[in-house]
């Protein structure tokens, strides 16, 4: 996306929200051999500052340092996403197209939020969410120093305090391994689908947006995966 829009016209900063091994995260960056700026943010500082609760998320920031749009589920195109289980196709190119429009037309782009929209969207977070944030950072600290027991305890507490924050769920579950995290994501998304109207991501409202809801691929439930699920999630 960066190269096709024109590197001289804007700055793309790609931030990994990853508490894991920086070398492993770095390999993801290297594989993409990026021409843009890449940073690893092991304490999820950026998500806390911008109030993001899932990845990918993105903000457009104008020449004056003002946020003009901020969304979750901002895939650069249709992507295959791994949830520790296999690949699932996800996302669409609506965000990339809107971004191109904003880079070219600036404040005249129809995708720039008005100040009223901004005020409605960029909300302060409530007390529980702020406590959850401090708790999540405590969990990341204990994870970093190898104290798994305390890390898991605080991940669980953060998840309880801010149940809508996917980052706390996904990063916390990843502590038990990618497969465990993948199964938990599936279970939680399917539970939400049945009981609420919540999505994995809030809709961006951009034209051409599709499949905002994460659905389990049918090929997934082989007997082996079912057995692993039973054991990992201690399901009957």
């Amino acid at each position: 996306m960066y190269e096709s829009i024109g590197q001289d016209r804007f700055e793309l900063i790609s931030v990994a929200q990853d508490s894991g091994d920086p070398k492993a995260v770095g390999r993801w960056f290297d594989r993409a051999s990026p021409t843009f700026r890449c940073v690893i943010d092991p304490t999820h500082q950026i998500s806390s500052l911008f109030g993001w609760v899932n990845v990918p998320s993105a903000a457009w920031i104008d020449e004056d340092g003002t946020i003009v749009r901020s969304n979750e589920g901002t895939y650069p195109g249709e992507s295959t996403v791994g949830f520790g289980l296999g690949k699932v196709r996800f996302g669409d190119d609506s965000f990339a197209r809107a971004t191109r429009d904003w880079i070219e037309r600036g404040a005249d782009s129809e995708y720039v939020w008005s100040s009223a929209e901004l005020a409605g969207r960029l909300k302060p977070v409530d007390e529980d969410a702020r406590r959850a944030e401090a708790t999540f950072k405590l969990a990341l600290h204990f994870e970093a120093v190898g104290d798994s027991e305390r890390a898991l305890k605080h991940f669980a507490a953060a998840q309880r305090l801010a149940p809508d924050n996917w980052l706390y769920h996904r990063q916390g579950w990843t502590h038990r391994g990618a497969l465990y995290a993948g199964l938990k994501v599936l279970r939680r998304t399917s539970h939400l689908r049945k009981t609420t109207d919540k999505s994995f991501y809030d809709p961006t409202g951009l034209p051409g947006e599709k499949h905002r809801r994460f659905t389990e691929p049918e090929w997934l439930w082989t007997p082996a995966v079912r057995r692993i699920k039973q054991l990992l999630l201690r399901e009957a």
Binding site: F10, E11, L12, I13, S14, V15, A16, Q17, D18, G20, A24, V25, F29, R37, C38, V39, I40, D41, T43, Q45, I46, S48, L49, F50, G51, V55, P56, S57, A58, A59, W60, I61, D62, E63, D64, G65, T66, I67, V68, T99, S115, L118, A119, K123, P124, V125, E127, R130, R131, E133, A134, T135, K137, L138, H141, F142, K153, R170, T174, A178
Partner: protein, 138 residues
């Protein structure tokens, strides 16, 4: 004692005669919490919060050859959440910073290290459009 705040981990001295509350040496405050004690009160960047007169004696104390500030008391006053486990204290974001920043829709500044080792500050890109994008390997 360890303080986690603003994405940073800082090791600081602990006041041994009161471990129930978070006491921070005044000299350690800026590095550990971002706040600085000034004549007008506690200051974080441009923002200053006066300390209530009736709390000054309780919150500022002389112990073990140092001047200490009861940070947990101050945090309670400004609505900043904190969680502790043993000698690790984790501080949440400061609600007022968030509120004022969001009202003006100013992108909060941050400083992180790029993959090539260079420091990256958002405010260094003023005058250019920025697309800030998060992802994760998990």
């Amino acid at each position: 004692m360890i303080i986690l705040a603003n994405g940073k981990m800082t090791k600081v001295a602990q006041r041994t005669d009161d471990t129930e509350r978070l006491w921070v040496r005044v000299v350690d405050l800026p590095g550990a919490t971002g706040w600085q004690m000034k004549p007008q009160g506690m200051c974080l960047g441009e923002m200053c919060v006066p300390l209530p007169d009736d709390r000054v004696e309780e919150w500022i104390a002389d112990a073990e050859d140092w001047v200490w500030m009861c940070y947990s008391g101050f945090a309670d006053m400004i609505g900043q959440k904190y969680v502790r486990d043993g000698d690790v204290w984790s501080l949440g974001s400061v609600p007022e910073v968030r509120r004022s920043g969001l009202e003006a829709a100013i992108a909060p500044d941050f400083e992180l290290t790029e993959r090539n080792g260079e420091r990256l500050r958002l405010s260094d890109f003023r005058g250019r459009k920025v697309v800030l994008f998060t992802w994760a390997s998990w």
